[in-house]
């Protein structure tokens, strides 16, 4: 009983920080979403759906595509790092994949904005290699640009977690399957991935919620309609001072992410029991 009290006491300061500077303002924003003039109602929500229902679908589709791509790429890279048989390729890949991980989102936005533009370096190279003519070039500064930015930035983070979990697996089952003649792809899918699925899920959920909250990437790469909800919220406040609709949009993206948080909660509860 005494250690429980001590444990709570040790966790309490950090928890108070979260409550005071996140949960209280979060509730203020939820309350604000229902405030219409001097009374409460659903006016902000109907206005949000009228104006931004396309952007809601756009946000979910973009973040989902990005999450799937990040998952596949991190399994592929982590799998090659664990099962690869050419030591030099493994070393090069290990050195290579991590570069974008710590690059700030705002820098990613700036870097890819200049790289992927219609007259950016990527198209310039393709044109001078003779692959495209100047008239065929298209810019990628739309939904594709946002997906590329998210995958570029978040894959190394998930891969780091996944490769770490794969490295601490028991090698004997892998060796046994290898001796029995199983291909490396089959070992990856049937033996390795099921054992690290918990770590993969944690990494993907953290990435999902990060992507739902990033403002700088959609603002810098694709600010025109349709765009992501974060850009809409900033626009509502900066251009209209409309806190009601901004808060309602916040509640909507909150509900979208709450679904994902629930998956995590169920996963950890299953592990504990």
């Amino acid at each position: 009983m005494q250690t429980r009290f001590l444990a709570l006491l040790l966790v309490l300061p950090a928890l108070i920080m979260i409550v005071l500077f996140f949960i209280v303002p979060l509730f203020a924003s939820i309350l604000g979403a229902f405030e219409v003039g001097d009374s409460f109602g659903l006016g902000n929500f109907s206005k949000s759906f009228d104006l931004y229902s396309k952007d809601m679908i756009f946000t979910v589709v973009i973040v989902s595509i990005s999450t799937v791509l990040i998952g596949l790429l991190s399994i592929a890279i982590g799998g090659y790092l664990t099962l690869g048989e050419n030591p030099r390729s493994v070393a090069i890949l290990r050195w290579l994949y991590r570069w974008p991980m710590f690059i700030p989102f705002i820098v990613v936005g700036q870097v890819l904005r200049t790289f992927l533009a219609k007259n950016g370096l990527m198209n310039n190279i393709l044109v001078s290699l003779g692959i495209l003519t100047p008239l065929q070039t298209t810019g990628f500064l739309d939904w594709r640009g946002i997906v590329i930015a998210f995958v570029w930035k978040q894959t190394p983070f998930v891969t780091l977690l996944v490769a770490g979990a794969m490295a601490s697996l028991d090698r004997s089952t892998i060796e046994a399957a290898r001796n029995l003649g199983a291909s490396r792809l089959r070992i990856l899918i049937e033996i390795v991935v099921p054992q690290i699925s918990g770590t993969l899920l944690v990494g993907l959920i953290l990435s999902f919620v990060t992507m739902m909250s990033v403002l700088s990437v959609p603002l810098m790469i694709n600010a025109q309609s349709p765009t992501m909800l974060t850009a809409d919220i900033a626009f509502r406040i900066n251009a209209h001072g409309d806190y009601g609709v901004a808060n309602a949009l916040g509640v909507i993206s909150l509900l979208l992410t709450a679904g994902v948080a629930l998956i995590y909660l169920r996963q950890t509860m299953k592990d504990r029991l």
């Binding site: 709570l8 403002l215 919220i233 909150l254 709450a258």
Partner: protein, 270 residues
């Protein structure tokens, strides 16, 4: 068999080369922009190179140096405050019996899990009332709240990876709980804690939205400077600022695996 192996270097080299282009192509583009005096379509490379824009950024009238200092001060204070909060919390979460442990771990994810834009707007209003808006302390508090998930989760994993027998051995030969923690558990968990400090530092350096609402225009961090320059269409200034943000990020990337070992990584979030 040998012919089969010999042929495999081709797709391997192709995929690694493609990956290198995907990662370093955009970064090369950034470097070119920092020294491009004149660059327009359809020229693949800049027409003139020079450091005119560097002089403008670092001139007394350019505020890049002040922004850099502000960013470093904010990030350092954020790391100190986060570790002070996360070390006891991580220890309790990994070692002691806690009711609702899963829920408490999840609580630290909340600032990352929910759209933080409307939250920052409401914090800004609250901070304005108590005089914290536009102060370093206000920005640090926002960054600490945002970075606590890394600090607490990695600290918890780091303490979990320390063999509990060592701590109990110290206790059984007469060391008090604080002494056992200070002399045995803390040094063994130090690499993991260092990793969590790195994550928090970079998270603070990266942070844009909160600084924008709580700090601007008084506390002008590097991301704010980058955004202003970029939206003004000044790609040279924006790229130089971006490069300043990149240097510590790349430096930390090169050393992170020394601190974050596989046994700690596999326990993150558990």
């Amino acid at each position: 068999m040998t012919a089969h192996i010999d042929l495999w270097w081709l797709p391997r080299a192709f995929i690694l080369g493609l990956l290198a282009f995907i990662i370093f192509g955009p970064l090369t583009n950034l470097l070119l922009w920092t020294v491009a005096e004149k660059w327009y379509f359809p020229h693949m490379l800049p027409l003139e190179y020079g450091f005119t824009f560097w002089q403008r950024v670092f001139s007394p009238r350019g505020n890049a140096m002040a922004s850099l200092m502000t960013s470093i001060v904010v990030a350092t204070l954020t790391v100190i405050a986060s570790l002070v909060l996360a070390i006891p919390a991580g220890y309790a979460l990994s070692r002691l019996k806690l009711p609702f442990r899963g829920l408490i771990l999840l609580a630290f994810l909340i600032p990352q899990a929910f759209p933080n834009l409307p939250v920052y707007v409401n914090i800004a209003r609250f901070f304005y009332e108590i005089g914290l808006n536009g102060t370093i302390a206000g920005v640090v508090m926002v960054h600490v709240t945002h970075g606590l998930v890394y600090a607490v989760w990695i600290a918890t994993a780091a303490f979990s990876a320390v063999d509990i027998d060592l701590e109990e051995a110290a206790r059984s030969i007469g060391a008090g709980p604080l002494r056992a923690f200070r002399d045995v558990t803390l040094p063994l968990a130090a690499p993991g804690l260092m990793a969590s400090a790195i994550f928090v530092f970079l998270e603070s350096l990266d942070e844009f939205t909160g600084s924008y609402f709580v700090g601007a225009p008084v506390v002008n961090t590097l991301p704010l400077l980058l955004y202003t320059a970029g939206s003004g269409g000044n790609y040279q200034i924006a790229s130089i600022t971006a490069l300043l943000l990149l240097v510590p990020s790349i430096g930390f990337m090169l050393v992170v695996e020394r601190f974050l070992r596989a046994d700690v990584l596999s326990k993150v979030g558990h």
